[in-house]
Amino acid sequence: MSNEFLGGVNRRNLLKLTAAAGAVAGVGLLANRPAFAEQELSLKGKRIGISTAGTDHFFDLQAYNAQIEEVKRLGGEPIPVDAGRNDGKLVSQLQTLIAQKPDAIVQLLGTVSVIDPWLKKARDAGIPVLTIDVGTTNSINNSTSDNWAIGKDLALQLVSDIGGEGNIVVFNGFYGVTPCAIRYDQLVNVIKYFPKVQIIQPELRDVIPNTVQDAFTQITAILNKYPEKGSIKAIWSAWDIPQLGATQALTAAGRTEIKTYGVDGSPEVLQLVADPNSPAAADVAQQPAELGRTAIRNVAKLLAGGTLPRETYVPALLANKENVGEISKKLGLG
């Protein structure tokens, strides 16, 4: 963050932002400290419903599988259901799960407005609901990466990389998904202090499924609209699958001067970040497996009579061109 371009005022603001985000992260780390010794935890004889919006991304799959394994490791019986990114299926599965009366339900991802009424029904039926990456008052505890820190880190890296000015393209198709909303809001908060950074309107909408192909098409189209080099400085997305498509489109069009930014630490995107010639500049890697294990340990604590904080934060790691090798090692990606 020591780039020359930053004027005094901007740098001060930057420091303030960093300090504020640091404080948030600090609170998170405190909350993360286990109240129970690890060896005491047990889920013996407990049935734990594990519901996910889907397992088609690296993040979901890692978090989902880690939850199942953790329940088994603690001696419990997992009831895993995978909605395959279909909201109707997700709701049906939750409905059946509630009727099965498990000892707890852990919901991984999902659009809040769709699942919230059903999480409430679970709560009303006396089933404790915990969540991963879902912000709802109907869950006792939400295990999540510190999305404020993620959004801030990514935004600062972006602003710093593009020299504090220029047009950026933003994928904002999932503002209804809480983590995406927080990351987007943090981007907006950061660029508020860099008036020369402009988000190109209209913002793009990333889609599921066919995220990569769709992002590729949309970016190719926008490159045709802004053919001059330098007219676009960076592409931002709240997760890294649109970033993957965007990066491919930039490489295909020979516009590698534009940099791409995303979140999740998908292995294929980290590989691109590691490639010095690729426009992929940074990817904030969450630790999905650790998130899954944390949520299940929280269930065990709760069922053992413990109390849980509202949110448990699992640290995320920003991978950029300099440190990507080290981060990949930490994530167990070699």
Binding site: I79, P80, V81, D82, G84, R85, N86, D87, G88, K89, V91, S92, Q93, Q95, T96, L97, A99, Q100, T111, S113, V114, D116, P117, G173, F174, Y175, G176, R205, V207, I208
Partner: protein, 349 residues
């Protein structure tokens, strides 16, 4: 036989008939009857067998609460499949040249989006209901016009309309989830008497009403006549095009209705309505095995919808991956279509 020919596989080799000519006609008819009987009873037996197995393996399966849930979970797909069944009855059951409505799932998506958007815009439920049903009806009307006026094959006409409708939904919702919550919607997604979801009651009442019209009135009989022998129906003075148009309007209305159910079930309109298309087509085709003469019927379609839902539910209760359900579904449809095709071929010789 010339009327028939359109509804037979055109590649049917002439020699196939000769081999069977040796057998006497009554014997053949008896054989076919037996085969139909076996298929129909077999399917019912499989259905009941699956229910019994689930009840034993997962004790929770056979409870009022769970069966109610499954009925409620079947409502959206059930209404769509029934709409499709009406179209298949009126257009004939040849998958390629007969009646089909591929725009149904997209119709549901757009109708749901219209409903949710109207609620978001501050309109009441009454306006939103009219909006959703109107959208469905309009889509049905476009289908009807393309097929009866322009003379396009339903498969292609409804495929084109499907794309237009899916595009309109994208424009309207920007491919985002549009949340909607009103008292009416909460009532729909809540539980009714005996703890059974309101959607379950709706599905049963809706099926009963449509079945009453299609299976037990002269209109229904004519609908079958138009679908099975359009030339004969025309010769008998039936206005074939009117019936076909009516069928598409009815299926459009079903799309609109399922859109409303979907908004209540998912607390808004969500993306990915198109995913419903193939399961609905499969269900409507599967429904034929639950009818006495292996023809599409409203009751048969309901049974097929419930069968698929019970499979999904039972798999979840037994902790078996739900991805297997689509495999089982595929296998069933393959069996059913080949069995019915073979039987029809024999019957038509």
């Amino acid at each position: 036989m010339s009327v028939d020919a359109a509804y037979l596989s055109p590649s049917l080799p002439a020699s196939a008939g000769k081999d069977t000519d040796v057998t006497s006609v009554p014997a053949r008819a008896l054989g076919r009857k037996l085969a139909v009987f076996a298929l129909r009873q077999g399917s019912l037996a499989v259905f009941i067998g699956v229910l019994v197995y689930f009840s034993i393996a997962a004790p929770f399966f056979f409870t009022v609460g769970n069966i109610g849930n499954v009925l409620g979970q079947s409502a959206i797909a059930g209404v769509l499949a029934i709409g499709l069944t009406i179209v298949i009855i009126a257009g004939g059951s040849n998958v390629v040249t007969g009646g089909i409505d591929l725009s149904l799932a997209a119709n549901m998506g757009l109708s749901a989006a219209v409903y949710a958007s109207l609620v978001q815009a501050g309109q009441g439920d009454a306006v939103a209901i009219i909006g959703a049903l109107g959208t469905g009806l309009l889509i049905g009307a476009v289908n009807a016009a393309a097929i009866t006026l322009a003379g396009i094959v339903p498969l292609l006409a409804t495929l084109a309309v499907m794309n237009v409708v899916a595009g309109l939904e994208l424009v309207l919702t920007q491919n985002t989830v549009v949340p909607a919550s009103t008292e009416f919607l909460s009532t729909l997604s809540a539980s009714g008497p005996f703890g059974i979801p309101v959607l379950a009651y709706l599905l049963l009442v809706f099926t009963a009403l449509v079945a009453a019209v299609v299976q037990y009135t002269p209109v229904g009989l004519r609908l079958y006549a138009v679908g099975e022998f359009p030339e004969a129906a025309r010769a008998a003075g039936l206005r074939v095009k009117l019936f076909v148009s009516g069928a598409f309007l009815a299926s459009g209305l079903c799309g609109g209705l399922s859109g409303i159910l979907s908004v209540s079930y998912l607390s808004g309109s969500t993306t990915g309505a198109g995913d419903m298309l193939l399961p609905v087509v499969v269900t409507a085709l599967l429904g034929t095995v639950f009818s006495r003469r292996l023809v599409p019927t409203i009751g048969g379609t309901l049974l097929a919808t419930l069968f698929v839902s019970f499979l999904i539910n039972g798999f979840q209760l037994l902790n078996i991956s739900s991805t297997l359900v689509s495999g089982v579904q595929g296998l069933l449809i393959l069996l059913v279509v080949s069995a019915t095709t073979l039987l029809k071929r024999k019957g038509n010789q």
